[in-house]
Each structure stands twice: as structure tokens, then as C-alpha cells.
């Protein structure tokens, strides 16, 4: 059972790193500021979520696992809102 949890952690964290990589590829390849913002906001946050998910089985206590979830929720909230703000600034700039 223990090694199964480890396997889950490795899988989730690898997927997370992969999504970060995908986000950077999007940053490099997308033609437009708004699309690059999209790649950044979506892919990187999913990557962070998967990394947090993979670290939850390895947390020392339920409180530590809760802290991981709080961090992820906070980043989701702030990233979604700031992506809106940056998108609005970008679209105003091109008028």
C-alpha cells in the first residue's frame, strides 16, 4: 500500500511538471499576448494543482495536507482574478 501511494505521488508530480512544461511551450509558441496569458493561467495552475495533489499523501499530518489544499485554493482564486485583470489591460492596450 505504501509503494502504491508513492507511485501515485510520482505520477501526479510528473504530470504537474509536464503541465508546467506545456505552459512554457505555449508561452513560446502562441502568437498573441492574450493566448500566451491563457497558456500561463491555465496550464501552470493545473501543474501546481497536480503537484499539490501528489504531495498530499506525503504530508506529515492532516493539518499539513490541509495547508497544501489551502495554498492551492488561494493560488486558484488569485490566478483567475489576476488573469482577468491582465487580460483587460492587454485588450485595452490594443484599442
Amino acid at each position: 500500500m505504501i509503494s502504491l501511494l508513492d507511485l501515485f505521488s510520482v505520477a501526479a508530480i510528473s504530470a504537474g511538471a509536464l503541465f508546467f512544461f506545456a505552459g512554457t511551450v505555449g508561452l513560446l509558441r502562441f502568437p498573441d499576448s492574450l493566448t500566451r496569458l491563457h497558456a500561463l493561467a491555465k496550464a501552470d495552475n493545473l501543474g501546481l494543482g497536480l503537484v499539490a495533489l501528489g504531495l498530499i499523501p506525503r504530508a506529515e499530518s492532516p493539518l499539513a495536507a490541509l495547508k497544501l489544499i489551502v495554498i492551492w485554493a488561494l493560488v486558484l482564486l488569485s490566478s483567475a482574478s489576476t488573469a482577468q485583470l491582465i487580460g483587460r489591460s492587454l485588450s485595452r492596450g490594443r484599442k
Binding site: S14, F20, G23, T24, L40, L74, S81, I86
Partner: protein
């Protein structure tokens, strides 16, 4: 297992570095704003991995702090961009 976590942290820092190079090079100043977001998210992921791998106490509190400071800096930058544009509009008005 800890080496794997540190390797993942290294990979994430590496991808963040490449993204940072692209963003800071970006065509206009608003695009450079995204650097704060990128570093914030990537930095938090790397910090969580390092915290779990090296057992230094309190690193998850640093990640918590980063999660608050990245939007704080972004809001300030957005206000700056709006202030600049407001001035430009006032100058253009007859």
C-alpha cells in the same frame, strides 16, 4: 524519492526560466506583468516540492506568503498601467 522531488523542482525552475526569458522579452509592458504570475505559480510549486524533499521547517509558510504576494504585486502593476493609460487619454483629449 527525495531526489525525484528535487529533480521535479529543478525541472519546474528550468521551465519557469525559459518562460521568463520569453515574457521579459515581450512586445509591450503589459505582457511583462505576466512574469510575476509565472514566477509566483512556478515558485510555489518548486517551494512545495523542496519543502517536502528537504524537511526544512516553515518552507510551506513561505509558499503561503508567496501565494499572497504575487497577486499583491500584480494588482499594483495593473494600477500602474491604468494610471499611465489614464494620463495618455487625458493628454489626447482636446
Amino acid at each position: 524519492m527525495n531526489e525525484l522531488l528535487l529533480l521535479a523542482a529543478g525541472l519546474i525552475v528550468f521551465t519557469v526560466a525559459i518562460g521568463l526569458a520569453r515574457i521579459l522579452h515581450g512586445p509591450n509592458e503589459v505582457e511583462r506583468l505576466m512574469a510575476v504570475q509565472l514566477l509566483g505559480t512556478g515558485g510555489i510549486a518548486a517551494l512545495l516540492l523542496i519543502a517536502n524533499a528537504t524537511n526544512v521547517p516553515g518552507v510551506d509558510d513561505v509558499a503561503l506568503g508567496l501565494a499572497l504576494l504575487a497577486p499583491f504585486a500584480t494588482i499594483a502593476f495593473v494600477n500602474l498601467v491604468d494610471a499611465d493609460e489614464g494620463a495618455a487619454e487625458r493628454d489626447l483629449a482636446p
